[in-house]
Symmetry: C2
Subunit: 335 residues, 2 copies
DNA sequence: TAATTTTGAGTTATCGGTAACACCCATTTT
DNA sequence: AAAATGGGTGTTACCGATAACTCAAAATTA
């Protein structure tokens, strides 16, 4: 590997002069500057960012921790984050917790050991508070994405889970549905709680009562446990519509319904949160509340970089991004 | 930040002893080992991987460079790569070139400056040869994914583009289609060339001739330029079926056809390469050649890690993974 | 012309670890 | 009893860069 010392020797200057040329600091005569530049190019010199990080105490690496890389919401978010990071000259260390607290913890350790300059953190749930406290304890700036964590004061970018849920459920009510089931994520996750609240509000605002036997609390990431759906369908008064709390759950619900010979929307209407990215465009089917995923990543990353580079330690900011209800073919009026 | 020197002082030993405890090297009495461990825990010590990397000349970071993070093929691949990397104790530095050579080059510079131990490299196309040569020049091990690069000798994981394409087109021929258009990626990309070859072979094997006016060479990533589709549809003999060379192109094709009031498969049949991941399961619609994306990432990463850790410099390996044709609703017999 | 300032460098210490070697003391061997 | 062995630990140098300081020569000023 070529170091500044190699450059220095070849150019007949000291290492410090080379360093100055690289960083455009100090005073260097145009002649030596040119000479050093030439040698650097000839030798295809690339600075060792480890060494630089060690002395500067910053790495120019940011970490993005998401909970499900197979979910288009998060990959779109990742693109937003990546674009903002790249623009500001940061590299991205990428991690995917799979909605798994243990994996999340492992990654936090990695992050700490890598001494990244900041973390864009989509937590798996409320218990992530411990991992976030690790970051706080070591003064690593972070911005929380998508899910609010009780007990953590930080910049945060959220969606309007309650409003979005209310609108979706009111859409179903408007179509005449009265028994609307909800397949929710874990109650450990703020968005799941808020979407449930929105679901309840929609009922109450329309003079309907909430029947908790119509509500199942599962996990956002997958829909392996079909017994919840079985239970719903075997109710005395089975639902005529289902609100899936996110896109992945909706996929599971629709697949399961299909296996049972039930058609959407003929037999049941289905709505959910979050769109499916480009690949969802093949057959835009689901009525859903679409969140601006790219903006989540972009704004979150911008806030993070401001935190890192800005001197003023301003108040914590909370950005709430609206969702847009898109009515498509998965819902229809109750017959 | 807490360093080994802090630990050493508190434990009444030298820094070297702390280092030995951390790495389980050398001889340490059980008593001091315990004492040092205790202090490390009390102080929540986490090693500085930058400092360690600097002296060890290795970072335990691998880089994964993909070309489209919004494509489920690559995100699934990423999960495979991540799983394999994590199992072997490596972190992943993640990069997304967006099928853009300039971005790819930027990321290669970042990779070089980060001194990663190896790169899992899905190239944008043949011109990536320069970027790969950069890695070779600096002795950074890499494995090439998905696309073969002429002039580069390396381990590589590929799909069976030719075979897959042939099967898809023969499926269409079997359904009676005779004018089959192809919307292809750039000819600068090996998979696009091979898929075209497969397309031609299917024709020739079935006594049909290839009409190159039915073939458009675009870009894998997006389908902004609709003039190619216009040209096809305005032919004297317009196609009755379209072979899109990958999933993203298929999305574009189907959207465009829909805008033009054409129905799939009633007006045209459509097939493509690569499935859509979990989100595609809502309405499994497209007949396609599904590639084992997770395996691409997993096997590629395993090979990479072997290269890095294994002493034997064995021959370059080329793994070709088969694709599976899945017949769904986007194709039907010619009326 | 002498004093002062500016310019363009070089020197040294340091970031947080680890390799290689040195060293002491308690056993064991001769 | 002297020599050899080896377990347990400390010292020193170094990885590749940069901050802070120093300093000589040139340019400017008095």
């Amino acid at each position: 590997m070529i170091t500044i010392y190699d450059i220095a020797e070849k150019a007949g200057v000291s290492a410090m002069t080379v360093s100055r040329v690289i960083n455009n600091t100090g005073r260097i005569s145009e002649a030596t500057r040119k000479r050093v530049r030439k040698v650097m190019e000839d030798l295809h010199y690339i600075p060792n960012s480890m060494a630089r990080s060690l002395v500067l105490q910053k790495t120019k690496i940011l970490s993005l921790l998401i909970t499900d890389i197979t979910n288009p919401f998060y990959t779109t978010l990742a693109r937003g984050a990546e674009d903002a990071a790249k623009r500001a000259g940061y590299r991205l260390l990428f991690a995917n917790s799979d909605e798994d607290y243990a994996k999340e913890k492992d990654y936090v350790d990695m992050i700490l050991s890598t001494r990244v300059d900041g973390v864009l953190f989509a937590p798996t749930g409320d218990h992530s508070v411990e991992n976030l406290e690790q970051l706080q304890k070591r003064n690593i700036p972070f911005v929380v994405l998508d899910r609010e964590i009780p007990g953590i004061e930080a910049d945060v970018v959220l969606g309007d889970s309650k409003e979005g849920a209310r609108k979706l459920v009111e859409h179903l009510i408007g179509l005449g549905h009265r028994r609307i089931a909800m397949i929710n994520g874990s109650q450990d996750v703020s968005t799941a709680r808020l979407r449930y609240t929105g679901y309840c509000e929609a009922h109450l605002l329309n003079g309907l009562s909430v029947d908790d036997s119509q509500v199942a609390h599962l996990n956002y990431r997958d829909f392996h446990d079909e017994s919840a759906l079985d239970a719903l369908l075997n109710l005395e008064d089975p639902p005529t519509a289902i609100f899936a709390a996110n896109n992945m759950l909706a996929v599971g619900v629709i697949q399961s319904l299909r296996l049972r010979g039930l058609q959407v929307p003929d037999d049941l209407s289905v709505v959910c949160f979050d769109d499916f990215g480009p690949s969802g465009a093949i057959s835009p089917f689901l009525t859903l509340a679409s969140q601006p995923a790219y903006q989540f990543g972009l704004l979150g990353m911008q806030m993070l970089i401001e935190r890192i580079e800005g001197e003023a330690v301003h108040e914590n900011r909370k950005i709430i991004l609206p969702s847009e209800m898109i009515i498509r073919a998965s819902t229809q009026a109750l017959k």
